[in-house]
């Protein structure tokens, strides 16, 4: 079954056939590379065009037709969103294009989608799900798990959420079209970040001392002093929040320690 043979004409608004499974799959796989040409001018824009392209082949005239070219040009312009939740935009934008909505309306809808998909995704994934999964893996390490279990638990847990979120986004975007804003009121998106943050805080508190104790290896004889230094140091770094990055301090401290150790030997 070819994509162009499935829906050779644009449907009336609100009347769209189900997305053919092969087209859905092509769009889903392309979503994994949505940031392939990310840049400071159009941001995710080309990626949105790239991901909607398999659906746009269903427009009248098929691939290369006038409707296809107009829609692809529109979809490849500036766009910003969280890369996972961009799936919602891809599904919804593909639908409004196939519904044959007026160009001006599609462009307004496209602009309106940018902001919420960025902030919701950042809170849910980057500030929630990713640290949670990382801390679960660190807890597994602290409890004595080997490389396979630590890495496996992280990848399976993280990607269960990651891949499901992209699939949900594409499906709900396609189903809801211009009404997709209601989907962003989903309890998982609204309340999820807070619940995930609490779970991550609990697991983080549990994992950090255990992971430190195991990673310290031969330095275990100094574990008590190191734990105390970590508590004091963390409070100081946290109070510097926004003024200096912890990783820069770490880089400086490690650099100084290496120089000290080499000079001391000499």
């Amino acid at each position: 079954m070819t994509a162009t043979a499935t829906a050779p004409r644009a449907a009336a608004p609100g009347d769209v056939r189900p997305l053919p499974a092969t087209v859905w799959l092509a769009m889903y796989l392309r979503l994994l590379a949505i940031q392939g040409s990310w840049n400071y001018e159009t941001l995710l824009g080309n990626g949105i065009g790239f991901c909607t392209e398999p659906a746009l082949r269903l427009l009248p005239g098929g691939r290369g037709g006038e409707a296809y070219r107009a829609a692809l040009a529109r979809q490849s312009r500036y766009f910003n969103a969280h890369p996972y939740l961009a799936a919602v935009a891809v599904g919804a934008l593909a639908r409004v294009e196939l519904e044959g909505q007026p160009a001006a309306r599609i462009e307004r809808f496209r602009t309106a989608l940018c902001g919420p998909l960025g902030s919701v995704g950042d809170r849910l994934v980057w500030a929630g799900w990713l640290p949670l999964c990382s801390l679960v893996a660190l807890a597994a390490f602290g409890l004595g798990a080997g490389p396979g279990l630590v890495v496996g638990s992280f990848l399976v847990l993280y990607n269960a959420g990651h891949l499901a979120l992209r699939a949900w986004g594409l499906t709900v975007g396609w189903r809801r079209g211009t009404s997709v804003a209601a989907a962003l009121a989903n309890p998982v998106l609204r309340q999820g970040p807070q619940h995930i943050a609490r779970a991550a805080a609990l697991i983080g508190g549990f994992a950090l001392p255990l992971a430190l104790y195991r990673a310290i290896g031969v330095g275990r004889v100094m574990a008590g002093g190191v734990l105390l230094a970590v508590v004091v140091g963390a409070i100081l770094v946290a109070r510097l929040h926004g003024r200096v990055d912890g990783w820069r301090l770490a880089l400086g401290a490690l650099g100084a320690f290496v120089i000290y150790s080499v000079v001391r030997h000499g």
Binding site: V150, A201, A238, W247, A250, V263
Partner: protein, 229 residues
């Protein structure tokens, strides 16, 4: 010379693939230090050493989450460098982990600059093809995406290769002249990493209602378990 290059090439390829995951494809977080350093360690036959440095780098990486268009450290290629450097020496060698973590963090910093350059290059390529994009050329849209992905793969590979080529001899030199005990060296580097992680965890969670109590409760549980061991 040839042997030296052949030795680095597989690791550079691994660094390229894992560097690609950071932003471009598929963002499955195989680029997190925990995974990437363990993979590099396993690649050279030392998965446990890879895991040890992966955990230490992951503690630092908790602070550098990839928010939006912000500039953040590129851990995928960097963790491969860290895993390879640490696997070079015996597990308890004085300075082994310190030099590897320092090298990996410096590489991650260089990686963030290389990503900025790549994004500028992507913008130049897109600008040059703007007329074709405005005409809705599918070939151009797909071509830009493939070019960006390929360039990122090459970027990560070159970064890993260059970092290992420079840092491996430097790390060996530093370790051969190391004047601090293995215990103190290891305690220092893991302590620094845990400090960054604890501050980062606080930064991420403290604004959520009740999360600070969950965090303190977790710490109490973790320390109690350590005391019981």
């Amino acid at each position: 010379m040839t042997e030296w290059i052949v030795d680095l090439l597989p690791l550079a390829l691994l660094g390229g693939v894992l560097g690609l995951d950071v932003v471009c494809f598929p963002q499955a977080m195989v680029s997190r230090p925990l995974v990437a350093a363990t993979a590099a360690g396993a690649f050279v036959g030392q998965p446990m050493q890879g895991l040890m440095i992966g955990v230490t780098l992951e503690l630092i990486a908790l602070e550098t989450l990839p928010f939006g268009a912000s500039r953040y450290l590129e851990w995928g290629s960097a963790a491969v460098v860290g895993g390879a450097l640490f696997s070079d020496s015996a597990p308890n060698t004085a300075g082994g982990m310190t030099t590897a973590v320092l090298g990996a963090t410096a590489t991650a910093w260089a990686g963030s600059y290389s990503m900025v350059r790549l994004r500028e290059l992507n913008a130049r390529w897109a600008r040059a093809r703007l007329p074709r994009l405005e005409r809705g050329s599918g070939r151009t849209v797909i071509g830009l995406q493939v070019a960006g992905l390929t360039a990122d793969l090459v970027r990560g590979g070159l970064l890993t290769f260059a970092a290992l080529a420079v840092l491996r001899p430097l790390a060996r030199l530093a370790i051969s002249d190391w004047g601090t005990s293995p215990a103190a060296s290891r305690a220092f580097v893991t302590g620094v990493a845990a400090t960054v992680a604890a501050a980062a965890a606080w930064k991420i969670f403290h604004s959520t209602a009740g999360a600070r109590w969950f965090f303190l409760g977790g710490i109490a549980a973790g320390l109690s378990l350590l005391a019981l061991r």
